[in-house]
Symmetry: C2
Subunit: 276 residues, 2 copies
């Protein structure tokens, strides 16, 4: 894999759009999330509005469920008397965005059978699945996938409550909740948080919650304070070679190459932008 | 799932054999590992010998690699001058135990296509895979699986260096390294350790490593200090019902049951033994 990346050219890499890049600022550091407006346009627009209004600032991470998710939002969100009101610029009702039309979506299909979906692969740089017969595509729940928490009603998410997958891919969530993007840097700041001891991994005491200093769009942050990250494009010959190298490990250490890979086992390389 | 477990009978549960149960004692608490002598008899025998000799005591957790493994052993193991000598009772050479004969192994096959192996399912209470044509079975690398670290030679593991999976199932390791068991309690004490910043997630400074107070076989611990855990048997109608409930989630929250499950997504319930 290292050889393949070293042989890559600058055209193999892309820079995430600052309008679709979220910085979650914690005392321990910055988590960078790439949003997926191609899959959840209305949720992403709402998250942008909430971030621009500073709505998330001072809220907290309230849940850390081992081998499942870490979740953040308004710890008082369940109590109408104490919940932080949404800003005027944000919607207070959104449709579920569980899947999108697969038409006119560039989709790189993995060669291996998925099981959870008719096809799995990559679209717009994200791990995804597709049902050609139904003409639908959706983001897959992999380690690092970020989604919008919801209640019982499918259309009860707003992007004010967000979670990230910190364990084995919970693919059963696919098409049952709106995925909005994925963590591209700082994942370890979330995955190592102490697990909550309450039901579903919620922290039982308010003082156990982890304060969110701010959530900002990269486009709202001064250029000098932005990350300079690049992501390997998933529609290139370089990426195809990387997938094949991971399907059949040629490293000397491996004695039994699997000849198979699942969509959540494919690494999606991120690098610092090379100095100009 | 809760309904199914509540309807279970005592015959659905088993108690792990104290001779095959390992306690990893950390300052933060106890991690309980069930060993799998049916799959790695020689490694398990060696781990037993090392634990009985107190060989692991005072060693450390030296690696925490996000979305991959946490690993422990002798931080000086790479330096013959400083490495802790193995006790006489332990072997210093073992065969690779990557797979075993599938003959006379009770194997509960999952109904869904696996991809990484011809069949996946459960054997002796562990997630496993099987190749009926080759007549082989092996443990699958799932979240919580414990394996024996090795160098380049397939037969270079001894059970003195152990790792646990803390992320998405790295199934590419199946049949490439000897799995020796799985964590059945205290997983969060390992999964939340700060990630190492060196290559492969090793801690760069010795003071970052996490001391191991002791590793003991449950059978060597006074009865009053033992865990009283029970594991749901994987060869029962109750377990079959649980798998089916997870393949097709009937909880009201789900709008699109997957109709599929992978071997590492099936929960393997553990409970405190009911009071007599």
């Amino acid at each position: 894999m290292q050889d393949i990346l070293e042989a890559s050219t600058s055209a193999d890499w892309r820079e995430p759009d600052p309008e679709n890049t979220l910085y979650l600022e914690l005392a321990s550091g910055r988590v960078v999330i790439e949003l997926a407006p191609g899959f959840a346009p209305q949720h992403v627009a709402n998250i942008r509005a909430l971030a621009k209004a500073g709505w998330y600032d001072g809220l907290s991470i309230n849940r850390s469920h081992d081998n499942f998710v870490v979740q953040w939002g308004d710890a008082d969100g369940g109590d109408p008397a104490k919940a932080r009101p949404l800003p005027d610029a944000a919607a207070n009702k959104l449709p579920a965005e569980f899947a999108r039309s697969a038409e006119s979506l560039d989709f790189t299909v993995l060669p291996d059978h998925d099981g959870w979906a008719p096809q799995a692969g990559f679209a717009e740089g994200f791990p995804a699945a597709r049902d050609p017969q139904a003409g639908l595509a959706w983001l897959t729940h992999c380690y690092g996938t970020v989604g919008a928490g919801r209640d019982m009603a499918p259309d009860s998410s707003l992007g004010n409550e967000l979670y990230v997958v910190i364990g084995h891919a919970p693919r059963q969530l696919d098409r049952n909740i709106t995925s909005v993007g994925r963590v591209i840097k700082g994942m370890e700041l979330l995955s190592t948080l102490p697990r909550g001891t309450g039901p579903l991994g919620f922290y039982e005491q308010r003082e156990q919650t982890v304060p969110i200093r701010a959530i900002r769009l990269a486009s709202e942050v001064p250029a000098a304070e932005r990350e300079r990250l690049q992501l390997l494009r998933t529609d290139t010959a370089t990426f195809e070679a990387l997938v094949e190298a991971r399907r059949n490990r040629r490293d000397d250490w491996y004695v039994h190459p699997a000849g198979h890979i699942d969509v959540c086992s494919v690494p999606l390389p991120v690098r610092e932008a090379p100095k100009e």
